[in-house]
């Protein structure tokens, strides 16, 4: 078998000058193609529905909302993408009277966002736009012959395009409200966009009417159903009317939810027979972006190819001094995108993914825990740096603190750890000291994190670093560094709470608390044991209630959990997107909102309402400082940590600056194909001699085998 396999290897690998273990077809490495991988199969590519990072990694290269984040500027800043400027924002009183910019939020009845689309932008080539000589749509309605002959979108021979207009953005906003699209933000937008909820109801009735009348196809022309808050002013201009004031709305305009959708595409995909072939809008996006998805095989590979109709965009010319030093402005002003194609291979397991990165077959990679020590070491000052082996290969490391928080919460409805009693507050504070997140980060995160002093991560307005940012309940600032308070101080707090040495006065035994977690697998055992040990320092017995995620969610919804861990990844870089996790009316039990701790504090809630409408500035900072103080004092959360992302990329991969808000960053990447080919050939020279030796050993071992066989043949039967 092995000699045969050897022969096959030599025959297949020996043809051409490509490395034998190259997973791509011959010659492609030299081309400006970006190679990467994905671990989880994306579920939805419909911009109205998609809300996961692994889906946005693809569709953000295809769809273009009106705004985007500046690639290099920090703190994160919005800039126009398809509009000819930032939206014009006008505030009005309820009676329609225009208000000045600094009008108090209470006076604002509604706010208008006026957006002007740049003329001349065209959609990617798509069969939905194709027309015949008489001007009719070529693939609408679809004839049976065509339907029989297609299996993928690429099988449609004719493709065409049309210009992007304001109506395409309006159509998409209506899609957000249309129930069959299951948009996760429909409820939120229903609270803010005027006429959104009414539209949803009207569209639902129209749909039901169509179903009763059994009129052809499943497509309801949403253009015919009006939404009062969204109006087309002219071919390129539209207006979105927001109830009262919602300054965070502008961030939503940089998300795929608000990307344009041509009605022709939705009508095309909803024709009978296409969905049975998995040809639908949820699978084949139609956009104006720099790339288009030409191969969608989530079981194997996703391929994005440069959109020939892309309107063009120049690489940013403005950046910091460190950007200049790192060569991030070398391409300033040049036309994007720089790559022709991006190939993402499905790689479920971390080990093959890592090895293929080291062989040069993936241009970038994250770092799994198993490979961390091989790739990264910490210097004397605690700074992360690459190991010699990585540096020798020219690999580079990028790190950034994520705009996420991983916290441990107390259920404030719980009679022991919750509520606003002094006893419970002191108990929570004591636990906040005892649970040593610096140790957690070191053990379970390979140092990839920053112990949180409050709910706001670095990079979000309101976050304070250094001595100003110390949480006095849990830490002290000593010799220019944060130091966690000693366990004795926590024990003192316990005693003040009535739990001397962790004893529960009700029964004299150790205080028993419960930690609910969906982490039931063997991998989580060490972590759960660690939590137990942390509370054991106070004499508290922590009972782990591990369950599956469904039961865990159920407990959280019913408010029967006591202590739990959860995380939040910011939608946009505004403090409102973190503080709303602790805003009383968002309580999980009360309103099924995102306030999982069910925290309710009258002052905090009032401050939240004020803060969310304020512009970034001194006044807002003061309000935030007070809110953080309340949270530290009440301690509904152990603030946990802000994860740090570590990513590696090869020397031929340029313009790699981590951006934790933007997903449309593929257009900035540049690949030096020639360097990649050289490196791949150097790193992947086949070693044939061990196989030759093995084959020789096998051949020589045949000699005694044949002798033995003959001797056996000649011997007497047993």
């Amino acid at each position: 078998m092995l000699p045969l396999a050897l022969l096959l290897v030599v025959l297949i690998g020996g043809c051409g000058r490509q490395a034998w273990n190259d997973p791509y077809r011959d010659g492609q490495a030299a081309e400006p193609i970006f190679y990467s991988s994905f671990a989880e199969r994306p579920k939805h590519f419909d911009p109205a529905r998609s809300y996961s990072a692994n889906e946005w990694a693809f569709i953000s290269q295809v769809y273009e909302p009106p705004l985007q984040y500046h690639f290099l500027r920090r703190p994160y800043a919005l800039v126009p993408l398809t509009t000819d400027g930032m939206p014009e924002i006008r505030e009005y009183a309820e009676d329609g009277r225009p208000l000045p910019e600094d009008a108090p939020a209470a006076e604002v009845g509604y706010t208008d966002y006026i957006l002007r689309v740049r003329p001349g932008i065209r959609f990617q080539p798509h069969p939905a736009f194709a027309r015949d000589t008489s001007g009719g749509y070529l693939y609408w309605p679809l004839v049976d012959d065509v339907l029989q002959s297609v299996n993928t979108l690429g099988d449609f021979g004719a493709k065409d395009t049309r210009e992007l207009v304001a109506a395409d953005y309006i159509y998409q906003i209506k899609r957000l409200a249309y129930a069959p699209n299951h948009s996760p933000i429909s409820s939120l937008m229903g609270e803010h966009i005027r006429g959104f909820a009414e539209f949803a109801q009207t569209a639902k009735l129209a749909r039901e009417r169509r179903a009763e009348e059994k009129r052809g196809g499943g497509w309801l022309d949403l253009r015919q159903v009006p939404m009062s808050g969204v109006q087309e002013i002219d071919r390129y201009t539209y207006r979105i009317r927001i109830e009262k004031k919602y300054p965070q709305f502008i961030y939503w305009l940089a998300m795929n939810f608000f990307a344009p959708m041509p009605w022709e595409a939705e009508r095309f995909y909803q024709q009978p027979g296409l969905n049975e072939k998995n040809i639908n809008l949820d699978w084949y996006p139609v956009g104006t972006g720099p790339f288009m998805l030409t191969e969608n095989n989530p079981n194997l590979r996703m391929v994005l190819v440069r959109n020939p109709n892309f309107h063009g965009e120049a690489y940013p010319e403005e950046g910091s001094a460190s950007d200049v030093a790192e060569g991030l402005l070398d391409d300033a002003g040049k036309a994007m995108p720089f790559i022709e194609r991006a190939v993402y291979a499905l790689e479920k397991e971390a080990i093959p993914r890592w090895n293929k990165f080291l062989q040069g077959y993936y241009d970038n990679s994250g770092i799994a825990s198993d490979s961390f020590d091989q790739a990264v070491q910490f210097g004397t000052g605690g700074e992360a740096e690459l190991t010699d082996a990585m540096r020798e290969r020219g690999i580079r490391l990028s790190t950034a603190v994520e705009t996420s928080v991983f916290y441990t919460g107390f259920n404030m409805l719980d009679p022991v750890v919750g509520g606003d009693s002094e006893r419970a507050r002191l108990l929570r504070q004591a636990i906040a000291i005892a649970v040593d997140y610096e140790e957690y980060i070191s053990i379970f995160q390979n140092g990839r994190g920053e112990a949180a002093q409050g709910p706001l991560p670095p990079g979000i307005f309101g976050h304070r670093g250094g001595i100003e940012g110390v949480n006095p309940v849990t830490h002290r600032w000593i010799d220019g560094a944060l130091r966690r308070r000693g366990i004795d101080e926590a024990r003192t707090l316990m005693a003040r709470a009535g739990y001397v040495d962790g004893r529960d006065p009700a029964n004299g035994g150790p205080l028993i608390l419960y930690y609910d977690t969906p982490a039931a697998g063997p991998d989580s055992k060490a972590m759960l044991q660690w939590y137990r040990k942390q509370l054991d320092k106070l004499g508290i017995e922590l009972v782990i209630r591990a369950t599956d995620y469904n039961r865990f969610q159920e407990k959280m919804l019913k408010g029967t959990a006591q202590i739990f861990s959860w995380g939040w990844n910011a939608d946009y870089p505004d403090p409102e997107n973190f503080f709303f996790l602790l805003y009383g009316p968002n309580g999980k039990v009360e309103s099924k909102g995102e306030n999982a701790a069910n925290f309710h504090d009258a002052e905090f809630d009032t401050l939240f309402v004020t803060m969310k409408d304020l512009p970034n500035g001194t006044e807002r900072q003061h309000v935030i400082d007070r809110m953080v103080t309340i949270l530290r004092d009440q301690s509904p959360w152990l603030f946990g940590f802000f994860p740090k992302s570590f990513s590696l990329h090869h020397a031929w991969y340029h313009n790699a600056k981590p951006h934790l808000m933007a997903n449309n960053t593929l257009k900035y990447k540049r690949i030096d194909g020639a360097s990649r080919v050289t490196a791949q050939q150097a790193w992947n020279r086949p070693l044939v001699w061990p196989l030759v030796v093995l084959a020789a050993v096998l051949v020589f071992s045949l000699v005694p085998a044949v002798r033995g066989f003959r001797a056996r043949e000649r011997s007497r039967a047993l």
């Binding site: 096959l8 297949i12 809300y51 049975e276 194997l300 479920k348 090895n355 062989q359 995102e594």
Partner: protein, 325 residues
């Protein structure tokens, strides 16, 4: 034989109904329709209204087993169990809960599974039988002893070790073939070599030991002694008599797994990035996609029944004494 086959196919019907009902019960004991909706709608900003809308859209807004509010037969038919099961028996798998056409997905994903499973089975079978015959031939010698020891050692090692070790040695150290991945047509060949080698090596321990036992059992039978007494060489005894008579249990083991080759191997496909059916079911379980889970369990049951039927038929081919009537 036709009557026997028809009878067996009729027996299969209640088995398939039972399998379907059991899958349904087990799945919904662990996952409620609300859980499924939450999983599909994502972790953020999921409202009650969105959950209700998702359930209505996917037909999970009905009672599970019995509809008290309906009248007559609808009490049974207007339920999730009935609505989700009836088309299954016509092999209409419908849409997955994430909106994909299951039949289309299965028809695409079974080929990569077969591309690995068939050569692994055939090469493994040839190698294991040859090796087992050698051990039987040299029975009682050091060669046999060490062969068995090596087989036991190979059986004791996890399949994962062979996969990771194979990828490291062949793909990374020797740089002979890609570590993982897949391609279409003739380009798929270089991706198949390593998983097939790993699959074959992983099966050597158990396969060889099993076949060796079968051969040794035959070797001590009277007809073998008679053959030797006639003066036949050991080689002829082994190939003409022992191998032929040991074919029945070998066939039992092989034919029954033939239909299941479509289903693929979870571990191998996952580590080698092969887009087969092996990971399809487990992905569906993780994603709480009941439509795919029931379709795959149903398909697995059908294939298993076909495998058993084929085994019975193959008995009559290799042993003329066996009659199915």
């Amino acid at each position: 034989m036709s009557a026997y086959i028809i009878r067996r196919l009729l027996y299969a019907l209640p088995i398939l109904i039972g399998v379907n009902a059991l899958t349904f019960l087990l799945f919904f004991v662990v996952n409620s329709p609300d859980d499924m909706a939450r999983m599909h709608l994502g972790g953020k900003r999921v409202t009650d209204q969105a959950i209700q809308s998702w359930k209505e859209e996917h037909g999970y807004d009905k009672p599970l087993l019995f509809n008290y509010e309906a009248a007559g037969a609808q009490r049974l038919t207007d339920t999730i169990l009935y609505q989700k099961s009836v088309r299954l028996f016509l092999f209409d798998f419908g849409q997955s809960d994430s909106g994909r056409n299951i039949g289309h997905d299965i028809s695409q994903r079974m080929w990569p599974s077969l591309a690995i499973a068939v050569p692994t089975l055939l090469v493994g079978l040839a190698f294991n039988i040859t090796f087992a015959l050698l051990l039987a031939f040299f029975r009682g010698t050091y060669f046999d002893l060490w062969g068995v020891v090596i087989c036991v050692a190979m059986m004791s090692i996890s399949g994962l070790f062979y996969i990771i070790g194979g990828q490291y040695l062949v793909g990374k150290l020797l740089n002979l073939v890609p570590i993982s991945g897949y391609d279409t047509g003739v380009h798929a060949l270089k991706f198949l070599i390593l998983p097939v080698i790993v699959g074959v090596i992983g099966s050597i321990g158990s396969g060889t030991r099993w076949y060796r036992t079968l051969f040794l059992e035959e070797i001590h039978r009277d007809y073998v002694r008679t053959a030797r007494a006639k003066g036949l060489s050991e080689q002829l005894v082994l190939f003409r008599h022992v191998l032929r008579n040991a074919l029945i249990p070998i066939l039992t083991g092989v034919v029954v797994v033939l239909p299941l080759l479509f289903i693929g191997s979870l571990l191998t496909e996952s580590f080698f990035g092969i887009p087969g059916l092996g990971s399809y079911t487990i992905d569906a379980i993780n994603n709480q996609d009941f439509a795919v889970v029931r379709a795959m369990v149903f398909l697995g049951a059908v294939l298993y029944i076909i495998g058993l039927l084929m085994t019975d038929i193959s008995y009559t081919i290799v042993d003329p004494r066996v009659r199915l009537d």
